[in-house]
Amino acid sequence: MAWVTWRQHRSQLVATAGLLLALAAAAFGTRLPIHAAFHRDSLSACLPPAARSGCDIIVPHFEAEFAGWVTAARVLAVLPVLAGLFVGAPLLARELEQGTYRFAWTQGVTRRRWLLSKTALLAAAMLLAGAAASAVVMWWRGPFDTLEGRIGPSSFDVEGLVVPAYALYALALGVLAGLVFRRTVAAMTSTLVAFAATRFLVLEFVRPHFLTPLHRVVLATDTGLQPGDWVLSNTLVDGGGRQISAAREDLAVLHATQAGIDPHTYILTLGWKRLISYQPAGRFWTFQLIEAGLFVGLAALIVLVAVWLVRRTPT
């Protein structure tokens, strides 16, 4: 089946390799000025815990200089879904659409083995491609990650283990969608929707609770932000621990200004504190493992369903 898979999907595999090469070339070209700026400003001296004076000016300046590139690099989060759209979705949909399944499924290789081997081989290729893309991005984002940490979504989603895991999940989705919808375009569309929905739901509602978030209480006037942490919530609480609404905060500021008192001082005298809930930077790899495991598990489940369906409900 390896030859069959290669022969049928070689254009997609070659395109994947080409895409990776282009990514690597772009990363290589743009990384040089970033690297140079990082050393020019001796930003390594600004890494916690030994931040030298002036860092609070240099670091934002460095970040602002390359903000456009970093934003552009976030687009790379869409890369994994391509595996689902262009490799997974056509795998069955094209056979069903063009009628060639009647040839493919009546050979000596059983339909189930045919689907399993093809999916497994392509999954291996997509895992490899995902890992390579992830490695390139991690290398490119290195300077930013050392300053800001990598547990925040903008880096978490394009680095580490989750990238190949997303690719695997997208591939599995595409295969199943192709079997269900039997049309390439419908399979691609539904793959895109399902993939985006899953990623959004996991990011918003699941990932923040992989491990119990840490809490930190700081002075109300402090921003409370520390580089590297993924801040989940940032609220003002009164002495009794009750949350203070934005309206109440505004009102307090208004009272203070009317009374001619500095609002900061006023808020401090009220005994208000800032409660920050966050995931620390050090949990990056743990979170990567959990999320990658989640998506790989989902992918395996979907492939099992597809294999069961392809045998159970013939055309």
């Binding site: 089946m1 009628g99 009647r102 040839f103 009546t106 050979q107 000596g108 290789v109 339909r111």
Partner: protein, 299 residues
């Protein structure tokens, strides 16, 4: 005697609301060259798709080479099936297509393939082949499997008569030494009557005639005589069809003895005539929704 290579029992397949096939019971003899005839929509393709596990029966059961094609799909390595229109990967070259078959069939015989496929350049893309060449390639892919059962679905539908004849020759050469059972589905009787020794006529989703061609031709006679009220004719077991033309009455009958009445002219019947008579709408087993144009008689 070895078990029948294709057995159906009470087989039925429903597509949404309509039954494509219903209550079909059939047993094809080992080694036979079977013509699967019937008008369009009679269920020929459905039967072959059920035999290869591409469709699942709604009711009843089908077994090929003694195995269930759905539960035991390994049996497909011993079955050669050419679907209607011989679908193949258009972007593959001929050589790639053969390589595909070689790698997906444990019993693949390279000699058969190379021997039979001498006339087509192996570098040609399948999409660039003519209909005849593609049908030929599809058949070679099937013969290379050294199958015990060959199922062809309308192999001549898009071929000119010469290409059809060549294809048939290729098929007969291919199965000559293996004594494989062959089922050729076709709605054009002329295409299959040259080679088949057994006939299965489907109409209205069921079998309406089945048997050895020789025996069928032997047991049917065409009786022509003056028009007159019908009584029982001695020697005639059943009148399949009657036709009036002018003063003549023509009866297609099943005979069980010599026709002694001298007022009848007795003639043998051709296979085509026989099948057309059995396909006539008034002979269909059960009334069905009239979405298909029934076969009409001229005469």
């Amino acid at each position: 005697m070895s078990p029948s290579p294709l057995v159906a029992h009470g087989l039925g397949k429903r597509f949404r609301r309509e039954w494509g096939l219903r209550g079909l019971t059939l047993e094809i003899p080992q080694g036979a060259i079977v013509g699967l005839a019937g008008p369009n929509g009679a269920g020929k393709s459905t039967l072959l798709a059920l035999a290869t596990g591409l469709l699942a029966p709604t009711e009843g059961a089908i077994s090929v080479l003694g195995r269930d094609p759905l539960r035991d799909p390994g049996v497909l390595s011993e079955i050669g099936y050419v679907p209607q229109g011989s679908p193949l990967y258009r972007s593959f070259s001929v050589a790639d297509t053969i390589e595909y078959a070689r790698r997906t069939n444990p019993l693949w015989d390279d000699e058969v393939a190379t021997e039979l496929l001498t006339r087509i350049d192996s570098k040609t893309k399948v999409g660039a082949l003519s209909e005849g060449e593609r049908a030929r390639l599809a058949l070679v892919l099937v013969l290379g499997k050294r199958p015990q059962l060959v199922l062809l679905d309308e192999p001549f539908a898009s071929l000119d008569p010469l290409a059809g004849r060549e294809l048939l020759q290729l098929l007969m050469d291919g199965v000559a030494e293996t004594s494989a059972t062959v089922v050729v589905a076709s709605h054009v009787v002329a295409d299959i009557e040259r080679v088949c020794d057994h006939i299965v006529l489907l109409a209205g989703g069921g079998v309406c005639l089945e048997g050895n061609v020789e025996q069928l031709l032997e047991s049917h006679r065409l009786l022509t005589g003056p028009r007159r009220p019908l009584g029982a004719v001695r020697g005639v077991r059943e009148v399949v069809r009657e036709r009036h033309s002018g003063r003549q009455l023509t009866l297609l009958t099943v005979v069980d003895g010599p026709i002694v009445d001298p007022s009848w002219t007795v003639e043998p019947v051709s296979l085509e005539e026989l099948l057309l008579a059995y396909m006539a709408p008034e002979r269909l087993p059960a009334p069905r929704t009239p979405e298909k144009v029934p076969l009409r008689w001229h005469g």
